[in-house]
């Protein structure tokens, strides 16, 4: 019994090294999922981010039909990469609203002119307040909101072509 006890520190050490080695091989998961999924969209009212779009308020997201809310910014490079996928979703009849994070009106207008405009409404969030309300930790992120204003799905990062079916499925499921 006492002999066995002497080996205990070594056994603990070996276990520790094994745990570290296994964790090192796993790619780190840096996504921070929002805890607002399944909860009601918090109340907010945003000014329009550009002149030719309507402003966005939480009330616009509970009008009986599901919608996508795309959190983006003109200064965000992956947002440009996902623009074609948002346009494809729009062509499929998925309504999309935008929240422009820490952005200037002229920059948003330039972004839409260069990369396409999939948005119906765009709210300006100059201090990231709505982003914090949503539990969103970066740009771009896309939320599926059902017709009663409940957040159903969150996509973190740019929407790649292979992500489109998953988002369409989440949109259909929210109907």
């Amino acid at each position: 019994m006492r002999r066995l006890f002497l080996w205990l520190p070594l056994a603990v050490f070996v276990l520790f090294v094994a745990a570290v080695a296994i964790s090192l091989r796993k790619p780190p998961d840096t996504d921070i999922r929002s805890h607002m999924i399944g909860k009601a969209m918090p109340d907010f009212e945003l000014r329009p981010a550009v002149a030719n779009h309507s402003p966005l308020a939480a009330a616009d997201l509970r009008r009986g039909k599901p919608r996508l809310v795309n959190v983006f910014a003109s200064w965000c490079v992956p947002c440009k990469a996902e623009a074609p996928q948002l346009m494809a979703l729009k062509r499929r009849g998925v309504p999309i609203d935008g929240v422009a994070i820490r952005d200037r009106s002229e920059d948003v207008a330039g972004f839409l002119a260069s990369w396409g405009d999939p948005f119906e409404r765009i709210g300006a969030d100059p201090q990231s307040r709505v982003q914090f309300m949503l539990g969103s930790s970066g740009v771009p992120e896309t939320f599926v909101v059902d017709g009663r204003g409940v957040i159903r799905h969150q996509h973190i990062g740019d929407i790649r072509p292979e992500d489109v079916p998953e988002i369409v499925a989440a949109y259909e499921a929210a109907k």
Binding site: I32, S34, W75, R102, R104, P126, Q127, S128, F132, G138
Partner: protein, 136 residues
């Protein structure tokens, strides 16, 4: 000559991979609150909140735009009289316990909180013989 000029121009034109916005920072991102007691409370909270885009830094340490906006959020709410722990809870409700550097006491973290007590108990158990011998 022309090549070095080109290189200089290219260097001047690059922007960091994680571009930041061109908007000036929020009012309270880099400005302390007028009331030192409130600022101290806000500061203590900011040092225990994790920056979301620069993981591993507190929002007090980070120069990311988003950390600046989080500092502004904390300072404005403290200024409005909100308790720092209520602000922490508000953020945990949205981002999970991950956003806070102070781990909550819950089943998942029981080992974390129990470990010091268990180690102390084990230490006392091991040292017990020594204390006994000293008495002789």
């Amino acid at each position: 000559m022309s090549r070095s000029v080109l290189v200089l121009i290219a260097m001047a034109l690059t922007s960091p991979a994680f571009a930041q916005s061109s908007l000036p920072p929020s009012r309270y991102a880099y400005t302390q609150l007028e009331d030192p007691a409130q600022e101290a409370r806000a500061r203590a909270l900011m040092e225990t909140l994790r920056c979301l885009v620069c993981q591993g830094q507190s929002i007090a340490d980070s120069d990311a735009d988003m950390a600046g906006d989080m500092r502004a959020l904390v300072r404005e709410r403290v200024k409005a009289g909100e308790e720092p722990e209520a602000i922490r809870r508000w953020l945990i409700d949205r981002y999970g316990a991950w956003v806070s550097y102070r781990p909550p006491v819950e089943p998942l973290t029981w080992p974390l909180w129990a470990a010091p007590l268990l180690l102390l108990a084990a230490g006392l158990y091991l040292a017990r013989g020594r204390f006994r011998r000293k008495r002789f």
